[in-house]
Symmetry: C2
Subunit: 211 residues, 2 copies
Protein backbone atom coordinates (compact mmCIF):
# COMPACT_ATOMS: atom_id res chain seq x y z
CA UNK A 1 0.00 0.00 0.00
CA UNK A 2 2.13 2.89 1.24
CA UNK A 3 5.66 2.27 0.05
CA UNK A 4 7.82 2.98 3.06
CA UNK A 5 11.42 3.12 1.91
CA UNK A 6 10.43 3.59 -1.69
CA UNK A 7 12.41 6.80 -2.01
CA UNK A 8 15.65 5.23 -0.79
CA UNK A 9 14.98 2.17 -2.85
CA UNK A 10 14.76 4.18 -6.03
CA UNK A 11 18.32 5.40 -5.57
CA UNK A 12 19.65 1.85 -5.47
CA UNK A 13 21.50 0.72 -8.60
CA UNK A 14 23.07 -2.70 -9.20
CA UNK A 15 22.99 -3.46 -5.48
CA UNK A 16 19.40 -2.37 -5.19
CA UNK A 17 18.11 -5.48 -3.50
CA UNK A 18 20.77 -5.56 -0.82
CA UNK A 19 20.41 -1.88 -0.05
CA UNK A 20 16.66 -2.11 0.08
CA UNK A 21 16.78 -5.06 2.39
CA UNK A 22 19.10 -3.38 4.81
CA UNK A 23 17.03 -0.21 4.68
CA UNK A 24 13.98 -2.14 5.81
CA UNK A 25 15.69 -3.41 8.94
CA UNK A 26 17.26 -0.24 10.28
CA UNK A 27 16.40 2.65 8.07
CA UNK A 28 18.62 5.64 8.63
CA UNK A 29 16.94 7.80 5.99
CA UNK A 30 15.46 11.12 7.06
CA UNK A 31 12.09 9.61 6.27
CA UNK A 32 12.54 6.98 8.94
CA UNK A 33 13.51 9.58 11.52
CA UNK A 34 10.43 11.54 10.58
CA UNK A 35 7.79 8.87 11.04
CA UNK A 36 7.90 8.84 14.85
CA UNK A 37 7.44 12.60 14.97
CA UNK A 38 4.54 12.36 12.55
CA UNK A 39 3.13 9.58 14.67
CA UNK A 40 3.12 11.75 17.77
CA UNK A 41 1.18 14.47 15.99
CA UNK A 42 -1.46 12.03 14.76
CA UNK A 43 -1.58 10.35 18.14
CA UNK A 44 -2.11 13.62 19.95
CA UNK A 45 -4.49 15.41 17.61
CA UNK A 46 -6.07 12.60 15.59
CA UNK A 47 -6.02 12.34 11.83
CA UNK A 48 -8.31 15.27 11.11
CA UNK A 49 -6.86 17.36 13.91
CA UNK A 50 -3.27 16.96 12.74
CA UNK A 51 -3.03 20.08 10.61
CA UNK A 52 -0.16 20.77 8.26
CA UNK A 53 0.79 23.65 10.53
CA UNK A 54 1.11 21.31 13.51
CA UNK A 55 3.01 18.82 11.40
CA UNK A 56 5.53 21.36 10.13
CA UNK A 57 6.00 22.61 13.68
CA UNK A 58 6.56 19.12 15.08
CA UNK A 59 8.92 17.99 12.34
CA UNK A 60 10.76 21.22 11.65
CA UNK A 61 10.17 20.69 7.94
CA UNK A 62 8.40 23.06 5.61
CA UNK A 63 5.61 22.10 3.30
CA UNK A 64 8.05 21.84 0.42
CA UNK A 65 10.07 19.12 2.08
CA UNK A 66 7.02 17.41 3.48
CA UNK A 67 5.30 17.10 0.13
CA UNK A 68 8.53 16.12 -1.52
CA UNK A 69 8.90 13.21 0.88
CA UNK A 70 5.19 12.40 0.93
CA UNK A 71 3.61 13.36 -2.39
CA UNK A 72 0.40 11.76 -1.17
CA UNK A 73 0.04 14.36 1.58
CA UNK A 74 -1.48 13.69 4.99
CA UNK A 75 -3.05 10.49 3.83
CA UNK A 76 0.31 9.04 2.86
CA UNK A 77 1.97 10.28 6.03
CA UNK A 78 -0.66 8.61 8.17
CA UNK A 79 -0.52 5.43 6.09
CA UNK A 80 3.24 5.15 6.48
CA UNK A 81 3.02 5.89 10.18
CA UNK A 82 0.51 3.08 10.50
CA UNK A 83 2.69 0.61 8.64
CA UNK A 84 5.69 1.63 10.73
CA UNK A 85 3.71 0.96 13.89
CA UNK A 86 2.54 -2.32 12.44
CA UNK A 87 6.12 -3.32 11.71
CA UNK A 88 7.18 -2.43 15.23
CA UNK A 89 4.46 -4.57 16.76
CA UNK A 90 5.10 -7.36 14.30
CA UNK A 91 8.71 -7.45 15.37
CA UNK A 92 8.35 -6.78 19.10
CA UNK A 93 5.02 -8.37 19.90
CA UNK A 94 3.39 -10.57 17.27
CA UNK A 95 6.47 -12.50 16.20
CA UNK A 96 7.58 -13.32 19.75
CA UNK A 97 4.06 -14.47 20.54
CA UNK A 98 4.05 -16.78 17.55
CA UNK A 99 7.63 -17.96 17.45
CA UNK A 100 9.02 -18.17 20.96
CA UNK A 101 9.59 -21.80 21.91
CA UNK A 102 8.09 -21.17 25.31
CA UNK A 103 4.71 -19.40 24.83
CA UNK A 104 4.80 -17.91 28.32
CA UNK A 105 8.03 -16.17 27.40
CA UNK A 106 6.40 -14.70 24.32
CA UNK A 107 3.47 -13.48 26.38
CA UNK A 108 5.74 -11.97 29.00
CA UNK A 109 7.65 -10.28 26.20
CA UNK A 110 4.38 -8.85 24.89
CA UNK A 111 3.54 -7.27 28.23
CA UNK A 112 6.99 -5.77 28.54
CA UNK A 113 7.01 -4.41 24.98
CA UNK A 114 3.50 -3.03 25.36
CA UNK A 115 4.39 -1.28 28.59
CA UNK A 116 7.38 0.25 26.84
CA UNK A 117 5.49 1.30 23.75
CA UNK A 118 2.67 3.01 25.60
CA UNK A 119 5.13 4.57 28.03
CA UNK A 120 3.46 2.86 30.96
CA UNK A 121 0.17 4.52 30.08
CA UNK A 122 1.37 8.02 29.28
CA UNK A 123 0.79 7.45 25.59
CA UNK A 124 -2.44 6.46 23.88
CA UNK A 125 -2.84 4.01 21.03
CA UNK A 126 -2.80 5.74 17.66
CA UNK A 127 -4.65 2.86 16.05
CA UNK A 128 -7.28 3.10 18.74
CA UNK A 129 -7.64 6.82 18.14
CA UNK A 130 -8.09 6.20 14.43
CA UNK A 131 -10.50 3.36 15.11
CA UNK A 132 -12.86 5.54 17.12
CA UNK A 133 -12.90 8.39 14.64
CA UNK A 134 -13.92 8.96 11.06
CA UNK A 135 -10.38 8.06 9.98
CA UNK A 136 -11.23 4.41 10.50
CA UNK A 137 -12.99 4.29 7.16
CA UNK A 138 -9.96 5.70 5.38
CA UNK A 139 -7.54 3.23 6.95
CA UNK A 140 -9.79 0.24 7.43
CA UNK A 141 -7.25 -2.43 6.57
CA UNK A 142 -4.50 -1.07 8.77
CA UNK A 143 -6.84 -0.58 11.73
CA UNK A 144 -8.50 -3.97 11.40
CA UNK A 145 -5.23 -5.75 10.72
CA UNK A 146 -3.43 -4.34 13.72
CA UNK A 147 -5.89 -5.58 16.29
CA UNK A 148 -6.77 -8.73 14.44
CA UNK A 149 -3.21 -9.94 14.04
CA UNK A 150 -2.44 -9.05 17.63
CA UNK A 151 -5.43 -11.01 18.85
CA UNK A 152 -4.59 -13.90 16.57
CA UNK A 153 -0.97 -14.08 17.68
CA UNK A 154 -1.95 -13.88 21.34
CA UNK A 155 -4.63 -16.52 20.98
CA UNK A 156 -2.16 -18.83 19.30
CA UNK A 157 0.32 -18.39 22.13
CA UNK A 158 -2.39 -19.06 24.68
CA UNK A 159 -3.34 -22.25 22.89
CA UNK A 160 0.25 -23.37 22.87
CA UNK A 161 0.27 -22.58 26.59
CA UNK A 162 -2.45 -25.14 27.03
CA UNK A 163 -5.69 -23.23 26.71
CA UNK A 164 -8.60 -24.57 24.77
CA UNK A 165 -9.47 -22.93 21.47
CA UNK A 166 -12.55 -21.06 22.70
CA UNK A 167 -10.95 -19.92 25.94
CA UNK A 168 -7.87 -18.69 24.11
CA UNK A 169 -10.04 -16.63 21.76
CA UNK A 170 -11.99 -15.09 24.62
CA UNK A 171 -8.98 -14.36 26.75
CA UNK A 172 -7.02 -12.77 23.94
CA UNK A 173 -9.94 -10.50 23.19
CA UNK A 174 -10.29 -9.74 26.87
CA UNK A 175 -6.65 -8.80 27.24
CA UNK A 176 -6.62 -6.53 24.20
CA UNK A 177 -9.80 -4.82 25.33
CA UNK A 178 -8.47 -4.43 28.85
CA UNK A 179 -5.39 -2.70 27.53
CA UNK A 180 -7.19 -0.40 25.13
CA UNK A 181 -9.77 0.53 27.70
CA UNK A 182 -7.11 1.22 30.29
CA UNK A 183 -5.43 3.60 27.86
CA UNK A 184 -8.71 5.45 27.47
CA UNK A 185 -9.29 5.64 31.22
CA UNK A 186 -5.69 6.60 31.89
CA UNK A 187 -5.89 9.52 29.53
CA UNK A 188 -9.33 10.52 30.76
CA UNK A 189 -8.18 10.63 34.37
CA UNK A 190 -4.69 11.79 33.43
CA UNK A 191 -3.37 8.98 35.59
CA UNK A 192 -1.07 6.56 33.83
CA UNK A 193 -1.03 4.13 36.72
CA UNK A 194 -4.45 2.94 35.60
CA UNK A 195 -2.68 1.33 32.68
CA UNK A 196 -0.01 -0.28 34.83
CA UNK A 197 -2.63 -1.81 37.07
CA UNK A 198 -4.50 -3.11 34.04
CA UNK A 199 -1.38 -4.68 32.57
CA UNK A 200 -0.76 -6.46 35.84
CA UNK A 201 -4.30 -7.81 35.95
CA UNK A 202 -4.07 -9.01 32.37
CA UNK A 203 -0.81 -10.81 33.06
CA UNK A 204 -2.34 -12.55 36.03
CA UNK A 205 -5.24 -13.66 33.91
CA UNK A 206 -2.94 -15.85 31.82
CA UNK A 207 -2.87 -19.38 33.26
CA UNK A 208 0.44 -20.21 34.88
CA UNK A 209 2.71 -22.85 33.43
CA UNK A 210 1.82 -26.30 34.55
CA UNK A 211 5.25 -27.90 34.02
Amino acid sequence: MAGAGAASGRRAGAFGRAVLKRAQKTDTSPRAALLPKLGEVFRTYGYEGASLTLITAATGLGKGSLYHLFPGGKQQMAAEVLTEIDQWFEREVFAPLRDSAEPHAGIAHMFRATDDYFRSGRRVCLVGVFALGAARDEFTDAVQGYFDRWREALAQALRRAGQARAEAMELSEDILAGMQGALVLARAADDHKIFSRALKRMAERVPKRVG
Copy 2:
Protein backbone atom coordinates in the same frame (compact mmCIF):
# COMPACT_ATOMS: atom_id res chain seq x y z
CA MET B 1 -21.10 24.30 34.00
CA ALA B 2 -23.12 24.67 30.82
CA GLY B 3 -26.66 25.52 31.81
CA ALA B 4 -28.81 23.00 30.02
CA GLY B 5 -32.35 24.19 30.17
CA ALA B 6 -31.26 27.72 30.93
CA ALA B 7 -33.18 29.10 27.98
CA SER B 8 -36.46 27.59 29.11
CA GLY B 9 -35.68 28.52 32.68
CA ARG B 10 -35.26 32.16 31.75
CA ARG B 11 -38.81 32.26 30.50
CA ALA B 12 -40.14 31.13 33.86
CA GLY B 13 -41.80 33.82 35.95
CA ALA B 14 -43.27 33.39 39.39
CA PHE B 15 -43.44 29.63 38.97
CA GLY B 16 -39.84 29.51 37.81
CA ARG B 17 -38.72 26.82 40.21
CA ALA B 18 -41.50 24.43 39.42
CA VAL B 19 -41.17 24.85 35.67
CA LEU B 20 -37.44 24.45 35.85
CA LYS B 21 -37.74 21.33 37.91
CA ARG B 22 -40.15 19.71 35.55
CA ALA B 23 -38.04 20.73 32.58
CA GLN B 24 -35.09 18.88 34.04
CA LYS B 25 -36.98 15.62 34.19
CA THR B 26 -38.54 15.44 30.76
CA ASP B 27 -37.61 18.44 28.72
CA THR B 28 -39.83 18.85 25.70
CA SER B 29 -38.10 21.98 24.45
CA PRO B 30 -36.59 21.91 20.96
CA ARG B 31 -33.21 22.18 22.65
CA ALA B 32 -33.71 18.84 24.38
CA ALA B 33 -34.69 17.17 21.14
CA LEU B 34 -31.58 18.60 19.57
CA LEU B 35 -28.97 17.32 21.98
CA PRO B 36 -29.12 13.66 20.90
CA LYS B 37 -28.60 14.66 17.28
CA LEU B 38 -25.69 16.86 18.25
CA GLY B 39 -24.33 14.00 20.29
CA GLU B 40 -24.34 11.67 17.32
CA VAL B 41 -22.34 14.15 15.26
CA PHE B 42 -19.72 14.59 17.97
CA ARG B 43 -19.65 10.86 18.58
CA THR B 44 -19.09 10.09 14.93
CA TYR B 45 -16.69 12.82 13.93
CA GLY B 46 -15.12 13.89 17.22
CA TYR B 47 -15.13 17.40 18.57
CA GLU B 48 -12.81 18.95 16.00
CA GLY B 49 -14.26 16.90 13.18
CA ALA B 50 -17.83 17.93 13.87
CA SER B 51 -18.01 20.88 11.51
CA LEU B 52 -20.86 23.36 11.51
CA THR B 53 -21.78 22.04 8.07
CA LEU B 54 -22.15 18.51 9.44
CA ILE B 55 -24.06 19.82 12.42
CA THR B 56 -26.53 21.80 10.34
CA ALA B 57 -27.03 18.77 8.10
CA ALA B 58 -27.66 16.42 11.03
CA THR B 59 -29.98 18.75 12.89
CA GLY B 60 -31.78 20.36 9.99
CA LEU B 61 -31.16 23.73 11.60
CA GLY B 62 -29.33 26.63 9.99
CA LYS B 63 -26.54 28.55 11.61
CA GLY B 64 -28.97 31.24 12.66
CA SER B 65 -31.05 28.89 14.79
CA LEU B 66 -28.02 27.04 16.06
CA TYR B 67 -26.28 30.14 17.34
CA HIS B 68 -29.52 31.47 18.71
CA LEU B 69 -29.91 28.34 20.81
CA PHE B 70 -26.22 27.99 21.61
CA PRO B 71 -24.59 31.44 21.68
CA GLY B 72 -21.43 29.75 22.86
CA GLY B 73 -21.06 27.88 19.59
CA LYS B 74 -19.58 24.41 19.25
CA GLN B 75 -18.04 24.56 22.67
CA GLN B 76 -21.43 25.11 24.31
CA MET B 77 -23.09 22.45 22.17
CA ALA B 78 -20.51 19.88 23.17
CA ALA B 79 -20.66 20.92 26.81
CA GLU B 80 -24.42 20.52 26.92
CA VAL B 81 -24.24 17.20 25.14
CA LEU B 82 -21.77 16.04 27.76
CA THR B 83 -23.98 17.12 30.65
CA GLU B 84 -26.96 15.46 29.03
CA ILE B 85 -25.02 12.21 28.76
CA ASP B 86 -23.88 12.62 32.32
CA GLN B 87 -27.45 13.07 33.45
CA TRP B 88 -28.55 9.97 31.56
CA PHE B 89 -25.88 7.84 33.18
CA GLU B 90 -26.51 9.38 36.56
CA ARG B 91 -30.15 8.38 36.29
CA GLU B 92 -29.81 5.01 34.56
CA VAL B 93 -26.51 3.73 35.89
CA PHE B 94 -24.88 5.56 38.78
CA ALA B 95 -27.98 6.06 40.91
CA PRO B 96 -29.13 2.43 40.63
CA LEU B 97 -25.64 1.29 41.53
CA ARG B 98 -25.62 3.47 44.62
CA ASP B 99 -29.20 3.26 45.73
CA SER B 100 -30.66 -0.13 44.92
CA ALA B 101 -31.28 -2.11 48.07
CA GLU B 102 -29.80 -5.19 46.47
CA PRO B 103 -26.40 -4.25 44.97
CA HIS B 104 -26.49 -7.13 42.50
CA ALA B 105 -29.69 -5.71 41.10
CA GLY B 106 -28.01 -2.35 40.62
CA ILE B 107 -25.08 -3.98 38.87
CA ALA B 108 -27.36 -6.00 36.63
CA HIS B 109 -29.22 -2.82 35.81
CA MET B 110 -25.92 -1.20 34.90
CA PHE B 111 -25.10 -3.91 32.40
CA ARG B 112 -28.51 -3.72 30.83
CA ALA B 113 -28.50 0.07 30.59
CA THR B 114 -24.98 0.07 29.19
CA ASP B 115 -25.87 -2.47 26.56
CA ASP B 116 -28.82 -0.32 25.59
CA TYR B 117 -26.91 2.91 25.51
CA PHE B 118 -24.07 1.61 23.35
CA ARG B 119 -26.54 -0.20 21.13
CA SER B 120 -24.90 -3.54 21.93
CA GLY B 121 -21.60 -2.26 20.62
CA ARG B 122 -22.75 -0.45 17.52
CA ARG B 123 -22.13 2.91 19.15
CA VAL B 124 -18.90 4.20 20.63
CA CYS B 125 -18.51 6.20 23.80
CA LEU B 126 -18.49 9.94 23.15
CA VAL B 127 -16.67 10.61 26.37
CA GLY B 128 -14.05 8.07 25.39
CA VAL B 129 -13.65 9.74 22.02
CA PHE B 130 -13.17 13.09 23.70
CA ALA B 131 -10.80 11.58 26.24
CA LEU B 132 -8.45 10.26 23.59
CA GLY B 133 -8.31 13.47 21.59
CA ALA B 134 -7.28 17.05 22.11
CA ALA B 135 -10.81 17.86 23.26
CA ARG B 136 -10.03 16.26 26.60
CA ASP B 137 -8.24 19.42 27.72
CA GLU B 138 -11.22 21.57 26.87
CA PHE B 139 -13.70 19.38 28.75
CA THR B 140 -11.49 18.00 31.49
CA ASP B 141 -14.06 18.08 34.26
CA ALA B 142 -16.81 16.40 32.28
CA VAL B 143 -14.48 13.68 30.97
CA GLN B 144 -12.86 12.98 34.32
CA GLY B 145 -16.14 13.15 36.17
CA TYR B 146 -17.97 10.72 33.94
CA PHE B 147 -15.53 7.86 34.39
CA ASP B 148 -14.68 8.69 37.96
CA ARG B 149 -18.25 8.77 39.19
CA TRP B 150 -19.05 5.60 37.28
CA ARG B 151 -16.11 3.81 38.82
CA GLU B 152 -16.94 5.16 42.24
CA ALA B 153 -20.58 4.09 42.06
CA LEU B 154 -19.64 0.63 40.80
CA ALA B 155 -16.98 0.15 43.45
CA GLN B 156 -19.46 1.12 46.13
CA ALA B 157 -21.96 -1.42 44.85
CA LEU B 158 -19.28 -4.09 44.75
CA ARG B 159 -18.37 -3.34 48.35
CA ARG B 160 -21.96 -3.61 49.39
CA ALA B 161 -22.01 -6.92 47.55
CA GLY B 162 -19.34 -8.14 49.88
CA GLN B 163 -16.07 -7.32 48.16
CA ALA B 164 -13.15 -5.89 50.06
CA ARG B 165 -12.24 -2.27 49.48
CA ALA B 166 -9.14 -2.92 47.35
CA GLU B 167 -10.77 -5.65 45.29
CA ALA B 168 -13.81 -3.50 44.63
CA MET B 169 -11.59 -0.69 43.38
CA GLU B 170 -9.64 -2.99 41.08
CA LEU B 171 -12.66 -4.78 39.73
CA SER B 172 -14.56 -1.58 39.01
CA GLU B 173 -11.61 -0.24 37.08
CA ASP B 174 -11.30 -3.53 35.27
CA ILE B 175 -14.92 -3.56 34.23
CA LEU B 176 -14.89 0.02 32.97
CA ALA B 177 -11.69 -0.60 31.03
CA GLY B 178 -13.05 -3.83 29.60
CA MET B 179 -16.10 -2.01 28.31
CA GLN B 180 -14.26 0.94 26.85
CA GLY B 181 -11.68 -1.28 25.23
CA ALA B 182 -14.35 -3.51 23.78
CA LEU B 183 -15.99 -0.47 22.20
CA VAL B 184 -12.68 0.41 20.58
CA LEU B 185 -12.14 -3.12 19.31
CA ALA B 186 -15.73 -3.45 18.15
CA ARG B 187 -15.47 -0.32 16.06
CA ALA B 188 -12.03 -1.26 14.76
CA ALA B 189 -13.22 -4.65 13.58
CA ASP B 190 -16.69 -3.37 12.73
CA ASP B 191 -18.06 -6.25 14.76
CA HIS B 192 -20.37 -5.23 17.56
CA LYS B 193 -20.46 -8.70 19.03
CA ILE B 194 -17.06 -8.04 20.54
CA PHE B 195 -18.84 -5.70 22.93
CA SER B 196 -21.54 -8.20 23.81
CA ARG B 197 -18.94 -10.84 24.62
CA ALA B 198 -17.06 -8.35 26.79
CA LEU B 199 -20.19 -7.37 28.67
CA LYS B 200 -20.87 -11.01 29.41
CA ARG B 201 -17.34 -11.57 30.69
CA MET B 202 -17.55 -8.48 32.90
CA ALA B 203 -20.85 -9.63 34.37
CA GLU B 204 -19.37 -13.01 35.17
CA ARG B 205 -16.47 -11.35 36.90
CA VAL B 206 -18.78 -9.97 39.57
CA PRO B 207 -18.91 -12.39 42.52
CA LYS B 208 -22.25 -14.12 42.81
CA ARG B 209 -24.55 -13.52 45.71
CA VAL B 210 -23.71 -15.59 48.71
CA GLY B 211 -27.18 -15.56 50.35
